[in-house]
């Protein structure tokens, strides 16, 4: 077989032609890299209103009046940080929520130290998260608040909503794994082969760098080569460089994961797939998904290689709520929050959905439409389940698909 002839002469000629341009580019690149770059992330102002151990509750400052009566608490994963939702000024889910008049709180899990290695999922869900929810309920004198979870934080929210349904008015899950018995994502394949017990016993907390290396290895061609080739190609473009550095800052700003939490998440979820079967237990209590009776909005990414649609889409079929909706966006795991297209779709959709379900809490119809009395910290217990504000049938939305993503964005 003849060797294919690569037109080296043409390629070299083309390169020679580009030499002058390249020279100019290099000059521009050095100018950009040596200039003052704006690479700050998470710049939207907030107040820390509650703290417990390493965990902080952020309350973002609204510029005007809140348009929704019920505040929204966003729960991020323990992997990476919640700053991703406020990565850059023109692509900020936080800013979009505030613009839509949502009174926004966010859990900042902080940086676990060795002291936190024995913290379990129960400590996070029935401890820190529950305390944050109680704080907001007390502050706003409300029996229930809106809850939104992201990735592993979404799994925590699902567990929380099942165990504390009386405190959650509406539940939003985004790229949230609940069904782990799938081979469509590499993470699901690898986690099954991982000896979590041995790793946790060895490391205590799972080092962030180890996790990040694992994430990079999910697609080394893109994440370790092509991404930086792209950077070099665009290094003369200041806004591109600034946004690229912002993303790099976020990706590698990773807290360690508390050891016992990791152990339980891998063993109970990835290996035994207990959550979707309503067999998982936290603090001795079974997480029964049928107890999730509040409206549920479930987002996932069609090209998500970390949490594939197969890991997310079953949730709405297993909960007790009749008001559920799946939204399958044609983007990746992070693209949902940072892509320009999603910026126009994602936050506004949530704001609309919440607005439609923002009526004050009422007693069941038979007892008259009276507002439920609420004594902060106590009254929400054992009050029974309020009737859903709107009881539409389950629906599955595919209409919000965007055009296929050209390239996976980082993770």
């Amino acid at each position: 077989m003849d060797q294919p002839k690569i037109p080296l002469d043409l390629i070299l000629a083309s390169l020679a032609e580009d030499t002058e341009k390249a020279q100019a580019r290099v000059t521009k690149v050095s100018e950009v890299l040596l200039s003052e770059l704006s690479t700050e992330i998470a710049s939207t102002p907030y107040d820390v209103v509650y703290e417990e151990d390493r965990v902080r509750l952020k309350h973002y400052r609204l510029e005007g009046e809140a348009r929704l009566k019920t505040p929204l608490l966003v729960v991020y994963a323990l992997i990476n940080r919640e700053t991703m939702l406020d990565l850059q000024p023109d692509r900020s889910v936080v800013k979009n929520f505030l613009r839509d008049g949502i009174d926004l709180y966010m859990v900042d899990w902080g940086y676990p130290s060795r002291k936190d290695r024995f913290l379990t999922i129960d400590d996070h869900v029935n401890g820190y998260l529950d305390h944050a929810v109680d704080f907001i309920r007390r502050k706003h004198n409300l029996p229930r608040i809106n809850l939104m979870g992201i990735c592993m934080g979404g799994s925590f929210c699902v567990m929380y909503a099942a165990l504390h349904a009386e405190k959650v008015k509406n539940l939003i899950t985004t790229v949230t794994p609940t069904h782990f018995d799938t081979d469509t994502g590499l993470l699901h394949i690898w986690m099954k082969a991982l000896d979590a017990d041995r790793i946790v016993d060895t490391f205590g907390n799972i080092p962030a760098d180890l996790m990040n290396l694992g994430f990079l290895l999910l697609n080394p061609a893109r994440l370790m080569i092509d991404k930086y080739v792209g950077f070099l190609e665009n290094a003369d473009n200041k806004p591109f460089v600034e946004n690229f550095v912002r993303m790099e800052k976020w990706i590698f700003d990773s807290p360690d994961v508390p050891g016992e939490t990791f152990r339980q998440f891998i063993n109970d979820c990835y290996k035994k797939n207990l959550l979707i079967q309503s067999k998982m237990k936290l603090g001795g209590k079974r997480v029964d998904l049928k107890k999730i009776t509040m409206p549920l909005l479930n987002f996932y990414g069609m090209y998500d290689h970390l949490v594939p649609p197969a890991a997310c889409e079953q949730l709405t079929r297993h909960v007790g709520s009749r008001d559920t909706e799946d939204v399958n966006l044609d983007t990746g795991h992070i693209g949902i929050y940072v892509s320009s297209k999603s910026q126009r779709e994602f936050a506004p959709k949530i704001a609309r959905w919440l607005m439609e379900r923002d009526e004050p809490d009422v007693r069941p119809a038979s007892k008259g439409a009276a507002i439920v009395k609420f004594t902060p910290g106590k009254a929400a217990r054992g009050k029974g389940r309020p009737a859903p504000a709107r009881p539409p049938k389950k629906k599955r939305l595919q209409s919000e698909r965007l055009r296929p993503a050209k390239r996976a964005v980082n993770k």
Binding site: P4, I6, P7, L10, I11, L186, I189, D195, N219, K378
Partner: protein, 297 residues
Amino acid sequence: MDETQQGQAPDGLFPPDWIKAGADLWTSLLKMVPPPTGTAAGPSTQKPPRNRSLESMETALKMWQSLSTTMSDPAAASAASKSLDALPDLFLKVAEASWDTCFQIQKVNIEKAGKIGRKVEAYHFENLDQEFFKTLKDIYEKEIRQFFYIPQLGLTRFYQERMNLLFDKLALLKATSAEFFSLLNLPFEQTAKVMQQEVEKLAQQGKVPKQAKEYYNLWVKILEGHFMTLFKSPEYNQALGEMFNQLSEFIIAKNEVVQDILQLLPVPTHKEVDALYRDLHQLKKRVRELERQLNTD
């Protein structure tokens, strides 16, 4: 030594005059040893303290004196002489045994080296790329590793054992990582081959790329595909799992050695701190539960 000589120095190593002069020398030296300082001050009921160095010297001189006296006895001198005569034989035997041991070890090593060759053959080295690291690891495990597990003796045996374990785990980690990283290299090799085929196909269609960037895009796309195929393979998953296991084993062994070192320093060890954290965690949970019960009441 002939009879005449034996007569002059009967059954002895040294002439009798030498022996007598030696015994006299030690006796006179002993007399020169100064008395304890306390005796000069007059009689005392309490025994005065003695200079330890003088005591030692006195003991040594007495020993030499008794040795010289003994050697003046013909029977004793003869016995000593015979013992000394036997020394060369003794040294020869020790040397012989040592060399035998050395040759034995060398023989075993040569045998092991021979096995290395045989193993490579057995693993079909025509598949060198895939099997090379596995073979090296196998050789290490079967032929070298046991040296780290030779039983240690004495007071420091446990410390030495932990140190040897660390060396063993480090060697295994290196072998496993080499195997793992060689797997990660496979997509690059495969991509280079597929690239040739792809370019050939494009050439046949008359669509040969003219820009370097187009080649890069094609290469990175093929590379991505190969990585995906590799990552889904059971071999990769096994290697990944093994890599994590060996890393864990190494870190555990390293921590044990560090623990030994930390015990020498005035700082708490990880084990102690972890025990404290565990207690703290359980206490906090109990307090929270009690608080909850109080609020409910």
